[in-house]
């Protein structure tokens, strides 16, 4: 009670609570659902206020295989990387990921140019195979995303998934689809707290409830601007807790894609003997980036390597001990 009083003195607002996944009773088909956000404190500072939910990890799954993977990813995900459904199942069931983040890279005109039907049936297949909610990402090319994602949103209607990403220059189409189909949305801003807030206002203005928005603040991997992302997230979160509703959204951080782009995660031991075991190095690079983002306030991490996921899951369990 005393703690609660003190927290109310300290912060006037909680982060919005975002629900991921809908059960059969709620009109979906997920047997596993999550809530994130709703904290009244800075990350893991339990004395400041209540932190009801632990951060969750989504496994990054691609609809088309990536030929340019570093050795450790290529070998450790060898069996599944060509089949997104198996890949998702393996990550959710064996690797311990809480949910699955499907990136529809293959719809990009330069990487396969798949159509709405392809994407829609893949999403449905994934939903059939895994029990968890999905995060569904477009390819980043505005026009194509606007064509495909609303369709995917429609065929997954009622499942309360998380779609992304919308940006300031292109947010209306996907947001409107998500509003109509009961999904959540990811708002992406280029490491800028003002733009993050502006985009949240724009999305809310067209009718998206504030508790169905997640902020992608754009991060950099360890050694690649991580501290910049950290300070932006810290600033946004502290503004949110101090009363700014338009910044009081949970954060999603795309750790896997950033960490595995780092030279340190990719270079082989033969090329750089002093850097040591390449397999472990990549895994650690991803885990370190993820843990720093947890400290910055991430509510959802997307990650790639099963081992890194295990390390970070353990860290979350430790951090969540009061």
């Amino acid at each position: 009670m005393a703690e609660e009083l003190r927290s109310q003195q300290m912060y006037g607002l909680r982060v919005h609570e975002l629900k991921l996944g809908a059960t059969r009773e709620e009109g979906g088909s997920r047997s596993k659902v999550f809530k994130i956000g709703n904290q009244a404190a800075m990350p893991f500072l339990f004395k400041e206020g209540e932190i009801p939910y632990a951060p969750i990890i989504a496994a990054e799954v691609y609809d088309v295989p990536d030929d340019d993977w570093p050795q450790s990813l290529a070998e450790d995900l060898k069996g599944v990387s060509k089949n997104p459904v198996d890949w998702a199942a393996m990550m959710a069931e064996d690797a311990g990921a809480d949910l699955v983040c499907l990136k529809l890279q293959g719809i990009h005109p330069d990487f396969g140019d798949k159509n709405s039907k392809d994407a829609g049936s893949l999403a449905t297949a994934l939903l059939k195979r895994v029990k968890t909610p999905l995060i569904i990402l477009g390819c980043g090319q505005g026009d194509k995303d606007n064509e495909v994602l609303p369709y995917v949103s429609e065929v997954t209607k009622g499942e309360r998934l998380l779609f992304g990403c919308v940006v300031q220059e292109n947010y209306k189409t996907l947001t409107a689809a998500c509003i109509a189909d009961g999904h959540n949305i990811i708002a992406e801003s280029p490491i800028d707290v003002n733009i993050a807030k502006q985009l949240n206002i724009l999305i809310s203005d067209i009718g998206m409830p504030q508790d169905r928005i997640a902020i992608n603040p754009t991060i950099g991997a360890l050694g690649y601007g991580l501290e910049y992302a950290y300070s932006i997230m810290e600033r946004a979160r502290s503004a949110a807790l101090s009363g700014d509703k338009m910044l009081a959204m949970p954060f999603i951080c795309f750790v896997g894609q950033e960490a595995w782009r780092a030279k340190e995660a990719r270079v082989s031991e033969a090329e750089s003997p002093l850097w040591g075991n390449a397999r472990e190095r990549g895994v650690m690079w991803e885990a370190m980036t993820a843990i720093a983002m947890l400290q910055a306030g991430a509510d959802i991490l997307t990650m790639r390597h099963p081992k890194a996921i295990k390390i970070v899951k353990a860290a979350i369990a430790e951090l969540m001990k009061r």
Partner: protein, 644 residues
């Protein structure tokens, strides 16, 4: 070198130029003025001409469509002449250099001082009695005693003695040209002479000595040299009376629309010379027209006082402005001594003086000093804010104890420059806009009631606000593509909203606002608002602590305050605090002309204004990004703004 003849139509003017000269340079040589907002960099696309015959060489430009290219349309600044050519200049590429219309003059120059009575009542602190009447140059008539054996001091000492009797003991000086023929002049006029004296400095300067009594005829000019517009007032220095006000375009616009592109141009061959002449030509023409209209002898014009931004003052005096735009942004001078007007090329009495008001820094010039003095901020007990909305948005905040200022580079968007249908506040410019709900039909008011030719700053502000009210724009300033209306469409420069269709307009085109125009306007308003916000934040005060807000600038009198607040250009405070002062720079220049005290005060004020450099302030970028939203990212700052 091969020389070629260029013939310009419809003037049928011919000019001979060297091979490889641009059409723009040739036009300048032929005294034909083309629009050239970017200063000849080929990026503004405003100097389109049609080559009827002959050969030119030009790189392809995104500003010229394929169809235009087939018709022989080129950018004058990019087309190099390679043979004798004939060039047709379309009306829209022409820089309209005529004097401004009467309506426009009234609009721009209806400043506080031309309506002295009204203002004296409303704002006693701005009354004419602010400074004692002591013109920069005063004429005295003397009947000197003839020399004799008891009183045989020299002729010059005799004149000095008479002046000293009049103005009190003070060192006196004069130029050699006044002395050379003094002996003859005194005797021929039977020792009755008129002496014009400038008393501003510690040393009194005898400006001129004339035969007989001409002391009742003493005139001066006050000038505001703006980047876009030059305004002038003819003042009777004895009677403290304004005889007339005129404004004309600054012909330097041919060499670039903002100070930076002009400074760049000054480095071109004869660039500084051309810029200098462009401005003094306009000033001299204005002086000439004025004196002719009022039957005044040029010799009776003894003083000119000038306010303007630092770059304009440098160019007027033909001082190299280069270092203004190089870090750490230091001008050659902020304070210029009084000079002979003739030395600067200004044609008044050959001995007449030119006084430039003092500037503060490279980007906060004498115009803001003049504005501060005219609004009496330096003596005010009330915390005041002066916002001069021009190409360089200058902002001053303070009161009698301190004044801080900054320059927010807003760009020329609010002056209609660099916009797809932009127009300066001239006849036919749309200055008020209302949009009807449902149909999105547009009602507008133009300056002079003419057929619309474009949109000026106040029109844009109104337009943005209306577009919001009807959901046509989102808060990021993007047109809503989902609205079905004949007015919303995809244009060559992205999405656009048609304000006036061609059949209604006074030009051969639709008048539109595009996504990129909206971007320009958003940047301009963000620059001005964030400049204000930074000053307020740095002085650790609140907007509501400010008691008076003076709005100066080109659209000062026709600005819809609700719309300006609505788009987040100016702070959302009690509307009663806003005071429109029109051209405060011209008002300050006139005060300095009429009172040495005002002139000295402005020097003092300039020294006491603290210049705040925004570009090195770590918080500025954050404020700017927060202001890049309509009305603002932090909506709590605009509580009265409600969009539907």
């Amino acid at each position: 070198m091969n020389k070629y003849t260029v013939t310009f139509y419809p003037e049928n003017k011919k000019v001979e130029v060297e091979r490889g000269t641009t059409i723009l340079s040739a036009a300048i040589s032929a005294h034909i003025h083309l629009n050239s907002a970017c200063g000849g960099d080929g990026v503004c696309g405003r100097c389109k001409v049609v080559v009827k015959s002959g050969t030119v060489h030009s790189e392809t430009s995104g500003k010229i469509t394929c169809e235009e290219r087939k018709l022989g349309v080129y950018l004058a600044c990019q087309a190099l002449i390679e043979s004798n050519i004939e060039v047709e200049i379309p009306a829209e590429s022409r820089l309209d250099l005529g004097n401004l219309s009467k309506e426009e003059l009234e609009l721009r120059l209806r400043d506080v001082y031309s309506k002295a009575e009204d203002i004296t009542q409303a704002m006693p602190s701005l009354g004419a009695a602010l400074f004692s009447h002591a013109p920069l140059v005063t004429k005295f008539c003397f009947q000197l005693p003839k020399p004799n054996f008891d009183d045989k001091i020299s002729d010059l000492e005799r004149v000095y003695r008479a002046v000293e009797d009049k103005i009190g003991e003070k060192p006196i000086q004069t130029g050699l040209s006044n002395i050379r023929h003094l002996g003859e002049l005194l005797r021929a006029s039977d020792w009755k002479i008129t002496v014009a004296v400038s008393q501003k400095g510690p040393v009194a300067e005898i400006v001129s000595i004339e035969p007989q009594d001409r002391s009742d005829k003493n005139y001066g000019f006050a000038f505001d040299i703006g980047t876009t517009t030059i305004s002038a007032q003819l003042v009777d220095l004895n009677k403290q009376k304004i005889l007339g006000t005129k404004a004309a375009y600054n012909r330097q616009a041919t060499f670039g629309s903002d100070v930076i592109s002009r400074i760049v141009y000054s480095k071109a061959q004869d660039g500084l010379e051309k810029l200098h002449h462009a401005v003094i030509d306009v000033a001299n023409e204005m002086i000439e027209t004025f004196t002719e209209e009022h039957g005044i002898d040029l010799n009776d014009v003894t003083a000119v006082s000038v306010a303007g931004n630092t770059t304009m003052i440098h160019l007027l005096l033909r001082v190299d402005p280069t270092y203004i735009r190089q870090e750490p942004y230091v001008p050659t001078a902020n304070y210029f001594p009084a000079v002979k007007a003739a030395e600067a090329g200004i044609k008044i009495n050959p001995h007449g003086l030119l006084f430039c008001l003092s500037g503060v820094a490279s980007y906060v010039g004498a115009d803001i000093t003049a504005g501060v003095v005219a609004c009496d901020i330096h003596q005010s007990k009330d915390l005041s804010l002066l916002i001069d909305i021009g190409t360089n948005g200058e902002i001053a905040l303070g009161y009698s104890d301190w004044i801080i200022s900054c320059a927010a580079s807003a760009g020329p968007a609010f002056e209609g420059s660099g916009m797809s249908s932009g127009l300066r506040a001239t006849r036919g410019a749309i200055q008020e806009v209302r949009i009807k709900p449902g149909s999105f039909d547009v009602e507008y008011v133009t300056i002079g009631g003419d057929k619309p030719r474009g949109i000026c700053g106040s029109g844009y502000i109104d337009l943005i606000c209306e577009l919001f009210k009807h959901g046509i724009l989102d808060k990021n300033g993007k047109l809503n593509r989902e609205i079905k209306s004949k007015r919303l469409r995809n244009g060559s420069l992205g999405h656009e909203f048609v304000v006036v269709f061609e059949k209604e307009s006074g030009i051969d085109a639709d008048i539109v606002i595009t996504d990129s125009d909206l971007d320009n306007l958003k940047r301009a308003k963000a620059a001005i608002y964030s400049g204000i916000a930074i000053l307020v934040r740095h002085m650790d005060i609140d907007f509501k602590d400010i008691k008076k807000i003076f709005i100066a600038g080109g659209f000062g009198t026709s600005l819809n305050i609700e719309s300006a607040v609505g788009i987040g250009l100016i702070p959302d405070v009690d509307r009663h605090k806003y005071i429109f002062v029109g051209n405060s720079s011209l008002a300050g220049a006139r005060q300095a002309l009429l009172s040495c005290q005002a002139s000295l005060t402005s020097d003092e004020v300039a020294k006491n204004i603290t210049y705040f450099e925004l570009s090195t302030d770590p918080e500025y970028m954050d404020e700017y990004m927060a202001a890049m939203f309509f009305p603002h990212t932090d909506i709590k700052r605009f509580p009265s703004v409600k969009y539907v």
